[in-house]
Every structure is written in structure tokens, then in C-alpha cells.
Amino acid sequence: MGEIVATLTARRSFVGSLCFLAVLSLFLLPASAWAVEPALDLTVKDKPLDAGEVLKIAFSRASGDSLGRTGIVRYELLRQAPGEAVFKVARSFAASQRLGRFTYDDTGLKPGKHYQYKVRTVGADGFTAETAPCPPTAPRRQWFFTNKLNTLVATAIFCAFVLGFIHAARRGRPMFIRRIAGLDAIDEAVGRCTEMGKPTLYVPGISTISDVATIASLNILGQVAKKIAQYQTRILVPNRDPIVFPVAQDVVKEAFIEAGYPHNYRSDDVYFVTNDQFAYAAAVCGTMVREKPGANLFLGMFYAESLVLAETGASVGAIQIAGTDAISQLPFFVTACDYTIIGEELYAASAYIGREPTLLGTLKGQDLFKMVCLGVICLGVLLMTLGVIFRGKPYDDILQLITVRSGS
């Protein structure tokens, strides 16, 4: 019995010793074993070439952190906005991300206002460490986006060509334009409507006023409406866009006045249908089968409704001329319409039909610009080919000029 008591006493003293050592080791361990270190190298910079609403923030992992395997759970980016007394969490980064350096674009900031940032390291045990706040930094707005310099130069060259040719056209210089079958057919179509005593249906596309194709279409509408006014027939213009609608009304009215038949203009013939794509298509289809127009002109921007419109138009026996720069819709018009005005021809149409010096000059200017583009392509292809053949890169500088860089 005494032997058993002695053994138990010895064991108790042994367990007690272990506990004592464990508590002692907690005090003796270095602080880094249970605390966390702050992140390193915090930098805050203004994003160059933007509207002054972004700051670029970057920082490195805390010393000893290895993809979050050393007790650090996450890094929190704290931001102090102007007028705020405390730092608030702007973004949190998991420490397990395979990144050597964390980067973040803080967007939606106010230009010229100063922001301060710091990074908080959060450990698994809830311990945190913070970097010192960075100096106050303000996002700056740049007035000129130099990455778009090539676009500016191209626009300037293009405008110079157009203005030069307009000037020449006004001075009476003859301007040759080759025959475009689809545009010649517009006269034929309007004439057919006159002979048959039927109206002409003109659909100016379903896009908005800011679309180049819509603007081109409204230009053509003016010329077509003028011819229709001269022939004293009707034109029906159903509209999908509420802003294009009054413009179309004005264009047609102006054309009737110019032609000398203002009394023949009927404002109800240029009307708004609906903004919904397929409801609009259904309504135009209904108009085609009920009004039975002699000619359907679909000129402008079209989407999925193109084939629906063109097929219905073909079924009522109207002569159909379509034109759009929507590449995905052109095949449908090619198959279902009598004539198709393809892409660039749409922009040339108003000049071709009207033969006005200003518009002809514009067209010639565009042509010259296309020739310049052809030259640039040929030069670029030559340099690229030589570059591959000789294993060098003599073309890099040229390509740099042309390349449209991404950016805000």
C-alpha cells in the first residue's frame, strides 16, 4: 500500500513538472511564434492617364509569411477617406493567394481628395499587426489620355481629308463615284411605288441616334423622302427609338418642303411604334401585310429581327433594298432582299443619291483615308514579314504607333 502511494506521489510530481514547463515555455517563446508581423512595402500611387478616380495600391507579405501557412489568415487594406476619422476596410486579401505582392486598384474615389491607407495583418489566433499609414495621396485627373494619341492623329488626318475634299467639291472640282447597284435600285424602287400607287416603307433600323448606321440612314431618308415627295407618293417610317423618331419626322418634313410639296407631308406616316425589338418587328410585319408597300427599304442598324422583316417583305411582293453595317445581319438581307447595301456602302449612300458637293467631298475623303489605311497595312505586313525572315523586329516601332492600347 505504501509503495502504491509513493508511486502516485512521484507521478503527480512528474505531471506537475510538465505543466510548469509548459507554462514557462509560453513566456520564454519569442513573440513571433504567437504574434503576426505587419505587411511590407506599402505603396500608393495615382493611376496615370485616367479621370482621377483610381489609386493603385500594392504591398508585400509580412516577413515569414509563406502563402498563409504560417498562421496569417488575411491582409486587410484599410482606407481613411477625406472627412473620416477612422480607417475602414476597403478590401480583404486571403493570405493563401499565390501572390508575392498584393495589388489593388481603389476605384470610385474623388479627384484631388487625399486618401490614406494602411494594411492590417490578421492571424489565425486573432492577433493583428498594422503597417504605418502611408502619406496622404490624392488621385489626379489627366486632361489628355496619351495612349489614344494614335486615334487623335488618325481622326485629324481623316478630318483633314474630308474637309479638303469638301472644299474642292464646293469649288466645282468634278468627283467621280463608281456605280453602286444597290443605290441605283432606290430610284427604281421609288418609281415602282409611284407606278403602283403604293407607299414606300422605310425602316431606319432599331438602334439609337448615336449609332453611325442610324445617322447614315437618316441622311439617306432625307434623299429618299425628297424623291418620294417629287413623285407625290407616300412614305411610311415606323420608328423604334423615341429619339430617332422626331429626327426622322423632321428629316421627312424638311425633304417634302425642299421638294416643294409641304402639303403632301403627313406627320402620321412617320410614327413611333415601340422600343421593344420583337414587338416592333411584329408591328412592322403587320404594316407590310396590311399596307402592302411597293418597296421596303431597310437601312440602318438591325439585329435579330432582320430576317423576320426581310422575309415578310419578300412574301408581300415588295421590292426590297436593305443596307446595314451589322455583319451578322447582312447574310439575311443578302438572301431575302433584292439588293443589299453592304457596310461601307451605307455611309456612301446619301452622297451617291444626292450628289451634293459636300457629301461627295466627304465620300472622297473617306476613300483617300481608306487608301492610306491600305498603304499602312501593306507597309506593316512587309515589315512584319521581313522581321520574321530576318529574325529581327524592325517593325516594332511602327506597330507601336498603330496599336490601340487598352486602358480607361
Partner: protein, 221 residues
């Protein structure tokens, strides 16, 4: 009406309207006219309510009344001027808004159009005619032919769209080749889009044969 009953009713209505629209394939009829007018009326009504809540309230009312940002009144006034068309004497005032819209629309679309439709295309076309595939002679020949076709086709297409030059002689042949390339592209695009449209048709037929049919069954059960 509970949610299930409501969904059954709307499925039935959807099926009837789908059939009404499909009836146009036979010929114009009162059922199609009804569906057409309902579609137009509902869409315009929806548009007005939608614009009120997504445009007028957040962009005009909230900014002007709640935030005191009175510069938002400028576009609002421009928009209101469009209504002057209802008064013939003052109809010309609406042209101010239209002029602004057209001018801004044209001006704002020039640079992006030039960038996306011209410069980007030029950049994409500037490829080497010779493409070396290391250790693969046939690969080199094939890739080179593809590159030559790509560059040649693009140049030919551009020549097709030159309006100042008569399409005769060598220019005519090049333009003709460009036209062939365009038509080949259209053919591929046509096939691709028709496939997508057929999938839409399948979706509608599935709706009629499954959802709608099931709703009819629920109606009579």
C-alpha cells in the same frame, strides 16, 4: 390566386400568344393582330414605367431634389424641349435638343468608331506573310497560306469598298476577289446564326409541348 395558379395562367397565356404569333406563318389574321397589338401596347407601357423608375427617378429626381445637383436639370430641360413639338408655334424649339443629340451622338461616335473599326482592324491585319512552324514544314506552308489569304482577303475587301475607282482591270479583279471573300464570310455567318435561331425555335416548341401542355393538363385536372 396563389403562385402556382398564377404561373399556370401565365404559361397558358404565353402558349396562346406564341401560337397567335406563329399563326402569321399562314397569313395575317385577327389572332395575330391581337397578339401584335398586345405586344406593342404592353411593351410601350412597360417602357414608360421602366424609364420612370430607372431614368427619371434616379437620374433627375434623386439628383436634383435630394442631392441638390442642379446641373442634372440641363439634360432634363433638353428632354422637355422635345415636347414643344406638340405646339406648332414653338415646334422649332425641339430642334435645339435634336441638334444637341445629333451633334453629340455623331461627335462621340467618331473616335470610338475609328479606333474599333479602323485602327484595331489594321492592327489585326498586320501579320507576317511567312509563318515559321519550327520542325514542321507542312505546318509552315499551311500557316503561311492562311496568313497570305488573311492579308490578301482583307486588302481585296478594302479595295471593293473604294468608291473613287472604277472596278475594271486589275482593280476589278481584286475587288471581285474581295466580294468573294465577303460572300464566303456571309455564308459562314448565315449558317452560324441560323443554328442559333433554330435553337430559339426549339426552345419555343419545348415550351409549347412541355410547359404549356402541362399547364393545360393542370387546368383540367
Amino acid at each position: 390566386m396563389d403562385a402556382t395558379a398564377g404561373s399556370v395562367v401565365w404559361t397558358l397565356v404565353g402558349g396562346v400568344v406564341t401560337l397567335a404569333i406563329f399563326s402569321f406563318l399562314y397569313k395575317d389574321n385577327p389572332l395575330y393582330k391581337l397578339a401584335e397589338h398586345v405586344a406593342v401596347g404592353v411593351s410601350v407601357g412597360f417602357l414608360m414605367v421602366n424609364y420612370y423608375y430607372t431614368v427619371f427617378m434616379p437620374k433627375v429626381w434623386d439628383n436634383v431634389v435630394h442631392k441638390g445637383q442642379f446641373d442634372y436639370l440641363i439634360p432634363h430641360i433638353l428632354g422637355l424641349l422635345l415636347y414643344s413639338r406638340f405646339v406648332p408655334k414653338w415646334g422649332w424649339v425641339s430642334r435645339l435638343s435634336l441638334a444637341f443629340l445629333l451633334g453629340a451622338g455623331s461627335g462621340m461616335s467618331i473616335a470610338p468608331s475609328l479606333e474599333s473599326r479602323v485602327l484595331k482592324q489594321i492592327e489585326g491585319t498586320m501579320a507576317s506573310l511567312v509563318v515559321w512552324v519550327p520542325g514542321d514544314a507542312w505546318g509552315t506552308i499551311l500557316q503561311t497560306l492562311v496568313s497570305v489569304f488573311l492579308v490578301g482577303g482583307t486588302i481585296a475587301c478594302l479595295v471593293f469598298f473604294l468608291f473613287s475607282v472604277e472596278h475594271k482591270g486589275k482593280v476589278g479583279k481584286l475587288a471581285y476577289f474581295g466580294r468573294l471573300c465577303i460572300m464566303a464570310g456571309f455564308g459562314a455567318s448565315f449558317g452560324y446564326t441560323v443554328m442559333a435561331r433554330v435553337s430559339l425555335l426549339i426552345g419555343r416548341i419545348q415550351f409549347l409541348t412541355q410547359d404549356w401542355w402541362k399547364a393545360i393538363g393542370q387546368l383540367f385536372s
